[in-house]
């Protein structure tokens, strides 16, 4: 019988994938669970395996084709396997007494349809776990009961934990010294993309600091009115995005990217805002920030943040940013050097606000200060541009009226 190998569920609201390399070609024999091709999405790269053994009779999605979950990748003729086994029935015929019930000679496939075990679905119902967020560790990614229970306890299930006990004297109550946890697809993608950025860009970081007095005063003064009118909090992020848009307009190469031998300058400002979720780092993008009001930006950030937490971000919402802002300050970072979100050429690092002793007009005063970091691709942005960018951001933030007057 001919079966169809389909695009598996790609996880976390990913709706399409690009067919990467075909490991097997038409006419090749694929054993059960053998890798036949690779699929790529922006978030994940995954391997598709043969669900049944057989010979590949047709490839329906060539390399580079964009496919959706459930779409047919190729066809496998299972009868080729039948032909292989056809030799044994003859000997069975010739051997009438060969009837041991232990004789499970037929090579039958392990059964699985992908998806969720019944016991896992029940546990998910009981514990209120959203199965779309659980990573299946069973054969072919089937979600097992233990996956659901781990998720219910920890908010994620980093898959099969293999505890390595340290030896004879290990105390039953103590944790294992090491745990081996396979990387999730998201983790693998994060790792790959960050390393790619480091390997590709000529990356370096410039620093500055900003006096937050003006913005903090503004927020304090208008917080209630703003919230009453727009139904959303007035946060720092809208100021930073606005400041960055202004600075990007002044230093367009920070908003550019390298494509082959050309530079692409972008006259739109889609700013990625790095967010931490239980599953890992994601960077949803606030579109067309040049056209958005402060409240428009704040509302969009709330909306994207909620979707990120719920694991509902679509690919569209996470791709195509022109510049990124990463706020390590929320976790208390004083100073850090962010890594570029390739293929972008710049990323701004925000940090925590600390009261520090500063010298103003020959006097020592206490001011709420934040360090700023701009990592940039030196292939695109010169030192002058980078430093100018950061100075412009500083100016906009220390004197927000410049934002209104477009100065």
């Amino acid at each position: 019988m001919t079966i169809e190998v389909k695009v598996p569920t790609l996880g976390e609201s990913v709706t399409e994938a690009t067919v990467g390399q075909w490991v097997k070609q038409v006419g090749d024999f694929a054993a059960q669970d053998e890798i036949i091709c690779e699929l790529e999405t922006d978030k994940v790269a995954l391997e598709v395996v043969a669900t049944s053994p057989g010979v590949i009779t047709g490839i329906l999605a060539e390399e580079g084709a964009v496919v959706e979950p459930g779409g047919v990748l190729c066809k496998i003729d299972e009868n080729a396997k039948g032909a292989e086994n056809a030799a044994s029935p003859q000997s069975a015929k010739a051997a009438p007494a060969k009837a041991s019930a232990l004789a499970a000679k037929t090579e039958s496939p392990a059964v699985s349809t992908g998806g969720v075990r019944a016991s896992a679905a029940e546990a998910a119902k009981e514990h209120g776990v959203d199965l779309s967020k659980v990573i299946g560790t069973g054969e072919q990614g089937v979600i097992t009961k233990s996956d659901v229970l781990t998720f219910a306890l920890t908010g994620s299930n980093p898959t099969a934990n293999v505890a390595i006990s340290s030896g004879a004297e290990s105390d039953a109550s103590s944790l294992p010294r090491e745990e081996i946890v396979p990387m999730t697809r998201l983790r693998k993608t994060i790792a790959r993309r960050l390393k790619e950025a480091q390997n590709t860009a000529a990356m370096l970081t410039t620093y500055n600091e900003v006096d937050m007095t003006a913005i903090m005063g503004l927020r304090k003064e208008y917080r209630e009115v703003f919230e009453k009118k727009h139904g959303t909090r007035l946060g720092f992020m809208s100021f930073f995005i606005k400041a960055c848009v202004g600075a990007l307009k002044d230093v367009p190469e920070v908003n550019a990217e390298i494509k082959d031998d050309a530079l692409i300058y972008k006259n739109y400002y889609d700013i990625g805002v790095a967010a931490s979720t239980p599953g890992g780092l994601v960077v949803p993008v606030v579109r067309n920030c040049q056209d958005l009001s402060f409240s428009g930006i704040e509302k969009e950030i709330v909306r994207l943040g909620t979707r990120a937490r719920d694991g509902k971000l679509s690919m569209d919402e996470m791709t195509g940013g022109t510049f990124t802002i990463s706020n390590g300050g929320v976790f208390g970072s004083l100073l850090s050097s962010p890594i570029l979100n390739a293929p972008q050429s710049g990323i701004l690092g925000m940090h925590s606000i600390k009261e520090r002793a500063m010298v103003v007009d020959g006097e020592i005063v206490i001011l709420p200060m934040m360090y700023l970091a701009l990592s940039y691709d030196h292939r695109v942005v010169d030192g002058k541009g980078a430093v100018t960018f950061l100075v412009r951001v500083k100016e906009y933030l220390e004197d927000p009226q410049r934002l209104i007057l477009d100065l």
């Binding site: 007494a97 009837a99 499970a104 090579e107 039958s108 392990a110």
Partner: protein, 467 residues
């Protein structure tokens, strides 16, 4: 006319277990069974009655002399075969009745009759009580099991020429019992009647008994059975049986030389295997594909070539074992309810309930060699196990085969008094992909026979403690 989510044809281990699981998952289920009792071959004329006879006759043989070493002796020992048979029937009745109760509890409709599939979505039932009935259903699971196979020219009459069914209900032990086929059924029933006084001769076509088993196990098993009084004629085939008034004359032929010889006996048990039972189901009409071995062709979701028609158990590919059928029934029900099903065909145990028992899971040494997989093996004999010694049951050994590269267990083989229970540990280990080292570092209670499993795991690394 009734509407069901699932109609299961066949109330054996594949069918009744699948039906209960489907009902647990909220599906509306009916089971069609024509036997007049639930439980299939296994409960009615297979595993269960044979185990009742095996256990009783084992005790009898122990009493007859096996316990002398403990200082226990008995005079005027006797066995009442008719009483033994009625005990066996009681067990069977109790178990099959138990399934009927489980059906009621799970609100499964039990329809006594012969099911036929005119097309997907419909099952016609010729009711045992007379009359017909049409069931409308979204899905059909065929779980009709298997039937006894015979040899060309040999007709089973269940009087003199018996199948396993007849051999489970003899009124007295035949003086000379000839068994065709040294597989599970032949050796188990051969053990029963040998213990009850028969001279047992087993004719086997292949060059060893239980040919599919691990070679070392098979060899040890043959030696032990010979010591118990079995006669084996290997590499021999049966070409015909002549009935005279009082005796049967079985003509055999040496496979190699072609030399024929006659063996006289009182009864013949034909135990050459079983074949899928699909006749009368209307498979041709429904368009369901059956292969040359008579098995219904299914995909990895148990679906036949026709949408809405599924099949599990002995009627499909794989070992003809009750527990394999049960697991397939459960998996099929879960798939029909929209979930993932799970059967790991690499970790299905098989047991022969002779004394000693023989149990195995996974690959044999011969299979690994044929597949060119690099393996290591660890063996531990029961003669070095304290509990086995105390029990006076030191026949046999545990053998574990592991992958050289990963230490994962590829096969486990046990011959020993309690092998059937002990194999569960190795099946679990294989299901979870454990290594021999994992077993070696699992605490096993002392004194138990299971320590031999741990020792065999340690023997893989050449470090058993008690050898």
């Amino acid at each position: 006319m009734s509407h069901y989510d699932v109609v299961v044809i066949g109330g054996g281990p594949g069918g009744y277990v699948g039906a209960i699981r489907a009902a647990q998952l909220g599906l509306k289920v009916a089971v069609v069974e024509m036997r007049g009792a639930l439980g299939g071959t296994c409960l009615n004329v297979g595993c269960m009655p044979s185990k009742a006879l095996l256990h009783a006759t084992e005790l009898y043989e122990e009493a007859e002399g096996g316990m002398a070493k403990f200082g226990v002796s008995m005079d005027n020992l006797s066995i009442d075969i008719s009483k033994l048979m009625s005990h066996k029937d009681e067990i069977v009745d109790g178990l099959t009745g138990g399934i009927a109760y489980l059906f009621k509890k799970n609100k499964i409709d039990y329809i006594e009759g012969r099911g036929k599939i005119p097309q997907a979505g419909k099952v016609n039932v010729a009711l045992n009580a007379g009359g017909d009935m049409v069931l409308e259903t979204k899905n059909i699971i065929i779980a009709t099991g298997s039937d006894v196979a015979s040899l060309p020219g040999i007709e089973i009459d269940e009087k003199d020429i018996l199948s396993s069914t007849g051999a489970l209900s003899l009124k007295k032990a035949p003086k000379e019992l000839l068994i065709i086929g040294a597989g599970v059924i032949g050796l188990e029933l051969g053990s029963v009647w040998r213990r009850l006084g028969s001279n047992v001769t087993v004719v086997e076509f292949m060059d060893k008994i239980t040919p599919e088993m691990d070679g070392e196990i098979s060899k040890t098993f043959a030696r032990i059975l010979k010591k118990q009084g079995f006669n084996f004629k290997l590499k021999t085939k049966v070409t015909g049986i002549k009935k005279s008034k009082k005796t049967l004359t079985v003509t055999t032929e040496d496979v190699k030389s072609g030399k024929t010889s006659d063996i006289k006996c009182d009864k013949v048990l034909v135990a050459v295997g079983r074949r899928p039972y699909t006749s009368g189901l209307g498979l041709e009409e429904a368009g369901v594909t059956v292969n040359e071995r008579g098995q219904i062709e299914i995909d990895h979701n148990f679906k036949t070539n026709i949408d809405g028609i599924y099949a599990v158990g002995d009627v499909v590919r794989g070992a003809m074992l009750a527990h394999k059928a049960e697991d397939e029934g459960v998996a099929c029900a879960e798939i029909l309810a929209g979930f993932a099903g799970h059967v790991n065909y690499d970790a299905i145990p098989g047991v022969i309930y002779t004394m000693p028992e023989v149990a195995s899971v996974g690959k044999t040494q011969e299979q690994l060699k044929a597949e060119a997989i690099s393996f290591k093996s660890g063996k531990f004999p029961f003669t070095a196990n304290a509990r086995a010694k105390a029990n006076g049951q030191t026949d046999g050994f545990v053998k574990i085969l592991v992958d050289v590269k990963t230490d994962k267990i590829l096969g486990g083989h046990i011959i020993g008094a309690d092998a059937g229970n002990m194999i569960a540990e190795l099946a679990l280990a294989m299901e979870k992909g454990l290594t021999a080292d994992d077993i070696a570092y699992t605490c096993h209670a002392h004194p138990t026979e299971t320590e031999a499993v741990k020792e065999a795991a340690m023997a893989v690394e050449n470090r058993p403690i008690h050898m």
